[in-house]
């Protein structure tokens, strides 16, 4: 019999005892639904956990430090690679070299410093960080009030919400209502802040008229040594106290912990501006190997990679250049492992219901064989082969699987939605923002339906071969 005819006959046979077959199909649906609900919950939770990290682009970020700092990210890095003294300095040429690596979108230094800010004649001390212009497109700034920096060197700042609260003297009490960003932004936008900072400037060498061709290692350099005279930046730097007036252009509800690079900074200024100001950074004092230079080496360079999958090769390439690297991919490995196990267990529990449903299919079809013994006998008498009978029962199982799978996915999707809705109502009551804890990717839809069909066909295997083996003479005698 042709497959299409088989399917057609199967559907009409199923319609003959519509109640029983519907109930069996509902059984499959419930099984599929529980599988879909469980897995979509697992996937949703995984995404929820990953979203925060992903939002700030951390999965495609590599943090680079110089080995000269003697502060590697792990023991392994400390032992392998070039000796710190022979490793390159993490300065502007190095940054440019990194930026030109394949798959690197951008590489920018991490500049942050503690500074005193005056707002309406009151001093505030806080951590300030340079923010690259590309952060404009970062999801983290989605809910920002006001505008992003007007240019790469504009004397403008964006405040973090908690700092804005501090400026306005509205520090929220524990358990009290949250003040909205909009409310905070209103009195602050356009206002001026005065930043007091220490500028690091190169001091001209004391004997500029005695040039020396000797280009010995910088470590030998001493302020009085004329060996460094060929360094146009000078042989020493001085620290000068300066003031800069900055305009508040934005207030954002950025979680201080969500962006690792700018962590704990509560006010941001354009990165280029920060670089131009040559602000003395806390690390400068530790940076003895570079102290002679006016152009300081960077403590940290952040590298953005095109996609998370490119992180590893880029990291390797940077390591080869002689720097230490760190990426969140390492840190999230165990997290991803946890979710893989969670998904597996949720999947197993979901599949249990489907296993029960498959017993339902076997039962229904075995019952159908008893009931339709005579019909099977007739079909064989008029020329149906074993394969035809087998195929027919097999097709019936398959059709139940298709319907059960489709209905089940729809049901599972609905259950997930309801759970999500309920959770969000609860979250709202607890004054948390709503979250998407449930997610059904397309592959789950396709996979669940396919799985339902496969399970149904497997369940149909035994009844179908039993029907095929039926002796037509006995089957016809049966009344």
């Amino acid at each position: 019999m042709k497959t299409y005819d088989m399917a057609e006959l199967a559907v009409r046979n199923l319609r003959e005892s519509i109640l029983r077959n519907s109930l069996t199909t509902v059984g499959i649906s419930v099984g599929v639904a529980s599988l879909v609900a469980m897995l979509s919950l697992g996937i949703g939770l995984q995404q929820l956990a990953g979203r925060r990290l992903q939002k700030s682009g951390l999965f495609d970020t590599v943090v680079v430090t110089s080995r000269r700092d003697l502060r590697s990210f792990n023991h392994d890095q400390e032992e392998n690679g070039p000796a710190p003294a022979e490793s390159p300095a993490l300065n502007e040429p190095a940054r440019q070299k990194i930026a030109q690596l394949p798959n690197v979108l951008e590489a920018y230094p991490d500049i942050r410093f503690i500074t005193e800010l005056r707002y309406e004649d009151k001093p505030y001390l806080t951590m300030m960080a340079g923010l690259p212009f590309s952060a404009k497109n970062n999801d983290a700034f989605d809910g920002m009030q006001g505008d992003f920096f007007s240019s790469e060197t504009a004397s403008e700042v964006i405040l973090q919400k908690s700092f804005a609260e501090q400026l306005l003297g509205k520090t929220p009490k524990a358990g009290g209502e949250d003040v909205s960003v909009t409310e905070l932004a209103k009195p602050l936008l356009g206002k001026q802040l005065t930043m007091r900072y220490a500028e690091r400037t190169a001091t001209p060498a004391p004997t500029p008229d005695a040039p020396d061709k000797d280009k010995k290692d910088k470590k030998d350099a001493q302020p009085a040594n004329s060996a460094e005279i060929n360094n146009p930046a000078g042989t020493a730097y001085s620290v000068i106290s300066r003031e800069e007036t900055l305009k508040i252009v934005g207030v954002c509800d950025l979680d201080p912990d969500s962006m690792r690079g700018q962590a704990r900074a509560r006010i941001f200024l354009p990165l280029k501006l920060a670089q131009n100001l040559h602000v003395m950074q806390p690390s400068d004092l530790r940076d003895t190997t570079n102290m002679a230079s006016g152009a300081a080496a960077y403590t940290t360079v952040e590298v953005h990679v095109k996609s998370p999958t490119q992180v590893q090769p880029v990291e390797d390439a940077i390591k080869k250049m002689g720097f230490n690297t760190f990426s969140i991919v390492d840190a999230t490995r165990s997290l991803r492992q946890f979710f893989a196990v969670l998904d597996l267990f949720l999947g197993i529990f979901g599949s249990l219901a489907l296993a029960v449903a498959s017993i339902g299919i076997i039962n229904t079809l075995v019952m159908a064989i008893l009931e339709r013994r005579r019909e099977i006998g007739i079909m064989k008498a008029i020329g149906a082969s074993d394969g035809d009978v087998k195929g027919l029962f097999f097709a019936e199982a398959g059709v139940m699987g298709v319907f059960g799978g489709v209905v089940g996915v729809a049901l599972g999707w609905t259950i997930g939605r309801v759970i999500n809705l309920g959770t969000n109502v609860y979250l709202k009551r607890q004054h948390f923002p709503p979250e998407q804890i449930w997610f059904v990717p397309w592959w789950l839809v396709v996979g669940a339906i396919a799985f339902a069909i496969v399970v149904s066909l497997l369940s149909g295997l035994y009844p179908a071969s039993r029907a095929a083996r039926l002796d037509p003479v006995q089957a016809l005698r049966y009344e």
């Binding site: 019999m1 042709k2 299409y4 005819d5 006959l9 009409r12 046979n13 003959e16 005579r374 019909e375 006998g377 007739i378 079909m379 064989k380 008498a381 008029i382 020329g383 149906a384 082969s385 074993d386 394969g387 035809d388 037509p472 003479v473 016809l476």
Partner: protein, 252 residues
């Protein structure tokens, strides 16, 4: 004996040959010899009636010829193929194309309309969808049921159901029609109607008919040969010359 005469004159058109054909089965302790050493030859185009009391083995013999059952030993050769040696698959093909069956209890599938019932063997034969309905309608038309295509068997009289099952038996144009008490569930008038159709198939289409019956009068009226069975054994085999002319004239 007339039997001997058959053997020589119709040797080239031999259709069915059984040799020491046996079908035994055990029921609990007892061994039932349903068919017990039957050797018989049927020529192409014959109308054979298998006669005997119930339990004489006539239906069992018919099932063996129909390829529904396999012999315990002995051979049954239909059109040069030994049914005992056919695979299950080949046997199904044989039932599909070589023989058509009608039963006492009609054996139409109750969930299907007449058209679908008659079409079913065409599905098994993998005939194209487009051709199937036309062929089935034609077959039903032949037995006078063109007005009942969309009815289910339970909505029809016994005679109509048996006519539909005749249409189904003929749909794949088999050489043999095997009928197991085809009039057993019918009153005499509808029974005659069915028998006239069967005779028509025999005479007009040249089909070989083997009909199981326990009514001797029916056999005498229609069959060209009567084979008598008792306890699984052949006890008589005679040709019936009269029937061929009088049966049709008698009409009833």
């Amino acid at each position: 004996m007339p039997a001997g005469h058959h053997e020589t004159s119709l040797k080239d058109s031999l259709a069915i040959r059984t040799e020491n054909l046996c079908r035994h089965y055990s029921m609990g302790e007892a061994l039932i010899r349903a068919v017990d050493g039957i050797s018989v030859q049927v020529a192409s185009g014959e109308f054979v009636a298998l006669l005997g009391a119930s339990g004489s083995g006539k239906s069992s013999l018919l099932n063996l010829i129909a390829g529904l059952d396999r012999p315990t030993f002995g051979t049954v050769v239909v059109q040069k193929s030994d049914l005992a040696k056919l695979s299950r698959e080949e046997l199904a093909k044989y039932r599909l194309h070589t023989v058509g069956m009608v039963f006492q209890s009609f054996n139409l599938i109750p969930s299907m309309t007449l058209l679908e019932n008659v079409e079913l063997p065409l599905r098994f034969a993998e005939v194209d969808r487009g051709k199937r309905e036309g062929l089935a309608k034609q077959a039903l038309d032949r037995v006078g049921l063109s007005a009942r295509l969309r009815h289910r068997p339970t909505e029809l009289s016994g005679g109509e159901q048996q006519r539909a099952s005749l249409a189904r038996a003929l749909i794949n144009q088999p050489r043999f029609l095997l009928a197991d008490e085809p009039t057993g569930n019918l009153d005499s008038q509808t029974g005659t109607e069915i028998m006239n159709f069967i005779r028509e198939f025999n005479e007009a289409l040249g089909m070989t008919i083997i009909m199981v019956t326990h009514e001797r009068t029916l056999a005498e009226r229609y069959a060209s040969r009567m084979i008598f069975l008792a306890d699984g054994k052949l006890i008589g085999d005679q040709s019936n010359v009269v029937s061929a002319t009088t049966g049709r004239g008698g009409g009833l």
